[in-house]
Every structure is written in C-alpha cells, then in structure tokens.
C-alpha cells in the first residue's frame, strides 16, 4: 500500500496553496463564502482563520488515517472528519468569541460543505504523507484566508468607506459593493488582475475552472 514518495519541500507546498492553487482565484471553488462574509475585513479574516484551522486539521487527520480508510467509502469518512473538526471550531467560537459567533456563526457551520476542504482532502491528503498533507492544508487554508482578506478589504473600503471598522473615506460609499452583486464584481476583477499578473510576469495561461460552492 505504501508507495515511496518523492521529496516535496514544505515551503513549496505552502506556496502552491497560496499562489498556484489558490482556492478562490485559481481553482475557483468555495465562492459562496467568499461573497457571503466578505463585507468587512473582520468577518473575512475570522472565517479565513476558521477555514485555515479546519483545513489543516482535516488534512492532517486524513493524512494519518489514509491507510485505514477503504477507498470505496472514503468520501463519507472524509465528511465525518470534516464535520468533526468544524464542530470543534464551532464550539470554540461559541464559547470564547460570542459576538463574532453571532455574526458569522452560520458560515462557520457551513464550512462542512465547502468544496475546498473536501477537495484538498481528496486530491492531496488521501494520497500523501501526513507531514506533506499538513503543509498542503496549511498552505491552502492560508491562500483562502489571504483571498478573503483581499476581497473584504476592497468591499469594506468601497462599500462602507471603512477599514476594520474605522472610517477612512468620507465620500458616499458605493452601496452595491456590500451586496452580493458587488462581491461577484470584486472577485471577478481580482481574478482577472491575478491572471494578468500570472500571464504578464510568469508566463501562465490564466485560471480556468468550474465554479463550486
């Protein structure tokens, strides 16, 4: 069962998760939370942290258990692992961060259904050693966190005229930016911008991919 693996550097794995396979801007999955919670940097950041934690722990667990999971029933097992870790985050937040939990609690529970988490478990963690899985999950979660913060930066700045709750712009804000429409606009424009950077400086071909939620 154990296949000898080629060596992958940990840094490479993290970089891969943040840049080359960024969940939102490159793989174009988990767009639903990226639009739903990114109306303020605080919410975006906290959901990003929660996802980072869940993603890392799920990948680690799957990496540890992968030799004991029968391939035929792997998806249900992954789901069990994911929901287990999501419950941990959910309870932790409910206990220690009540105010935030009231605002984004719903989205914390919905992390169970994020395509990105299952995708990393299925694509990477079930096939790689536990330390590699750990760093892949960390990188991927970090990429998601960074993407959420970038999106919410623009949406909060343009849609409310504030940053982290402090008033920055004193002009009339663009109301559309805090609505889902504005979220799609910002995600699309940022995606185009990162594609442009990729094509211009790194000779890439731009992201393609089917959406998921």
């Amino acid at each position: 069962m154990e296949v000898p693996e080629e060596k992958i550097s940990y840094l490479q794995l993290i970089k891969n998760g943040v840049f080359k396979e960024n969940t939102i801007f490159r793989l174009v999955i988990s767009l639903c939370p990226s639009i739903a919670v990114t109306t303020s940097i605080k919410n975006g950041f906290l959901l990003g942290i929660a996802v980072l934690f869940v993603q890392t722990m799920v990948n680690t667990t799957v990496g540890l258990l992968r030799n004991f999971i029968h391939p035929r029933i792997r998806i249900p097992i992954f789901m069990l692992i994911i929901s287990g870790w999501v419950s941990v985050v959910d309870m932790l937040m409910a206990a220690y961060a009540r105010e935030t939990y009231k605002e984004i609690g719903l989205y914390i529970q919905i992390i169970v259904a994020f395509a990105s988490i299952l995708a990393r478990a299925e694509m990477f963690a079930s096939k790689h050693r536990v330390d590699y899985s750990f760093f892949d999950g960390f990188g991927s979660g970090l990429g998601f966190l960074i993407a959420l913060v970038i999106i919410s930066f623009f949406r909060e700045l343009l849609g409310k005229g504030t940053l982290l709750g402090y008033s920055i712009v004193h002009a009339k804000p663009l109301l559309i930016m805090v609505m889902p429409t504005g979220g799609f606009l910002v995600v699309g424009l940022l995606m185009g911008f990162f594609n442009w950077i990729d094509m211009r400086f790194y000779g890439g071909k731009g992201a393609g991919g089917a959406g998921g939620h």
């Binding site: 009339k172 663009l174 109301l175 559309i176 609505m179 424009l189």
Partner: protein, 336 residues
C-alpha cells in the same frame, strides 16, 4: 490617389464584391443623431443640469474606452461612436438632478466593465448603458430616484422634487394621477409631450418616436422587438393593470410613461445584445414586455424596463440558438 485607384481596378478578389455603405461607426453616429430630439426635449424641461449630466456621461465613457483599450493594447476605437452612444444613452437615463459623481462612475462601469472587459464592441452580453444605470440605481438608490419637476425655465432656482407618473400610479393609483394632471386627455398629452418627471431623455415620448421613425426609415432597426414589446405591455396593462378587476387597466398610461419608449426603441434593439433571428426578436420583445409589467405591477420598483431588458439579454444566446432558421436542404443528423 489616382494611382491607387487604378491599381485597385486590377485587383482580383474573392467575394463579397458588393459591400454595403454601412459601417459600425456610421450607424452609431446616426443613432446618436436620432436621439437628439429626445435629448433636446430633456434639456428644455430640466435645464442646463441635464446637459451637464449627459456631458459627464459621454466624457467618462470615451475616457474609459480609451483607458481600457490603451491598457489592453487594443486598437483605440473612441471615434467609432459606440462609446459616445453608450454615454449619451446612459446620460438620458439619469435624473437631471444626479450629482456629478454618478454619471462619472456609472459610465465607467458601463464601458470599462460591461463592454471592454468582456472583449469590446460586439462581445458584451449586456447592454452597457443599462448596466451602468442598474449599477447607479443599486448604488445610489436615493439620488437615482429623486426626480425634479420639469420647469422649462433656464434660471438657476432650486428645482422642486416630485414623483414620476409611474411612481404615483404605483403608490396612490389612477385617481391621484388624474388629480395631478387634470383630466384624462391632458394626462395623455402631457405624457406624450414630456411634461412629467423622469429620467431626462425618457420624458418626451413624441421626440423619441420621431427619432425611432427615422431609424426605421433608415432600416437601422426593425419593428419586431419594439412592436412586440409595446404590444405585450399594452395587453398586460389592459388586462391586469386595473384596480377594479380584469380588463379595466389603462394601457395608454403604461405605454406613455416611464422609460418604456426609450427602452423599447433604443435599448432593446441594441444589435449586440438582442437576438438576430426575426422570430427570436419577437420572443425577446414579448419577454421584455412581460417582465416589465411584472415589475411595474407586482415588484418593489415602479419602473421595470431596465431590469426586464437586462434579464432578457441573458436569454439572447438561448433564443438565437433555438430559433435559428433551418439550413435549406440540410438533413437531420442520425440520432438527433
């Protein structure tokens, strides 16, 4: 020049040999000119502010077109009139009292995002001017629904704000509308001439119809979309528009008010975003009419032309694919 002409006579080319005189830029400029009567009526009723709003829209549209084409390394096409027309239409869809940043930003959204980011002229899915207006309406709902009373006076007094005929009809009903405008005849006349509150280019129905007749005569637009659109609106307004039951509505009020005429003749007939098949154009018009009346009668907004046309724009590829005429003599492929 003469030498070049001589040489051209000897050049052998493949078909087509007979080319139409029409070019994109000629059509765009002609459509812009045909909008002038409606625009002049708008300026007449709402004063120099109307002129300013439209000018800002046009300048911003041209600048956005230039900027994006420069950045993308495309050919600069600001002189072909399409950005000018988008700016003009967007300006005519704004209330004359709009503060200066609304035309600037929404015109940028219209040209840079809706048109250029999708690939430039001919590649956009949605009508750029309408997306610009939808953006403005969602972003600044208060400013975009503050209508000033038409005064026809070029003096700098503060304009009085008022409701559009459709707003009155929606909020208070037909009797209030008659109270404001006098009797039925005077209501129809004022709606037709344009003495009413509304976006600056949509008020004068008669001026829009003059422009549209010119376009029909030049064969730049066909009757299919506008007529099916207006007929659907009239029928639905007649059947469901009345308060006292079925078949008591007033179709003329619905036809003459709001942005319906401007939308039906100028927005829905945009070459890029409407179906090119004749049958499809009729389906498109009926769909627009249905959605417009659905929004006017049942939804939160008093006017639904903009959202109706934008929604039908999404269906354009679908309509075109399903209703395109059969190739003569083509056989059905096996298994299909």
């Amino acid at each position: 020049m003469a030498v070049a002409k001589k040489q051209q006579e000897l050049v052998v080319t493949v078909s087509p040999h007979i080319r139409s005189e029409e070019t994109v830029s000629k059509i765009m400029w002609t459509v812009s000119i045909s909008l002038m009567p409606a625009f002049i009526m708008g300026v007449y009723y709402f004063g120099p502010k109307a002129l300013l709003v439209t000018a800002l829209c046009i300048v911003s549209a041209l600048f956005s077109e230039w900027l994006v084409e420069k950045m993308a390394g495309r050919e600069i096409t600001i002189s072909d009139g399409s950005a000018f027309l988008t700016g003009l239409l967007l300006g005519m869809n704004m209330p004359a009292s709009a503060p200066f940043y609304i035309p600037l930003i929404s015109s940028f959204v219209a040209v840079a995002i809706t048109k250029q980011l999708f690939g430039g002229l001919g590649y956009n899915i949605f009508n750029p001017a309408l997306v610009g207006r939808a953006f403005a309406l969602i972003t600044w709902p208060r400013a975009m629904t503050t209508w000033i009373e038409p005064t026809a006076a070029f003096v700098g007094m503060d304009a009085k704000t008022t409701a559009t005929p459709l707003g009155i009809l929606k909020e208070e009903g037909m009797h209030k509308l008659l109270e404001v405008f006098g009797d039925k005849m005077s209501l129809y006349t004022q709606l037709l001439v344009g003495h009413k509150a509304g976006s600056l280019g949509e008020v004068s129905v008669i001026a829009i119809l003059i422009g549209a007749a010119f376009l029909l005569y030049k064969r730049y637009i066909t009757w299919h979309i506008p007529v099916s659109y207006l007929a659907t609106v009239a029928v639905i307004a007649w059947v469901f528009g009345g308060k006292e039951g079925l078949f008591t509505g007033d179709p003329l009020v619905h036809l003459l008010s709001g942005g319906l005429m401007l939308g039906a003749w100028y927005m829905a007939t945009d070459y890029v975003t409407c179906p090119s098949v004749r049958k499809g154009q009729i389906v498109f018009g009926i769909g627009c009419g249905f959605l417009t009346m659905l929004i006017r009668l049942k939804a939160g907004y008093p006017e639904g032309v903009m959202f109706a046309i934008l929604l039908m724009n999404c269906f354009t590829p679908l309509i075109d694919r399903n209703l395109k005429s059969k190739v003569f003599g083509a056989r059905k492929e096996a298994g299909k």
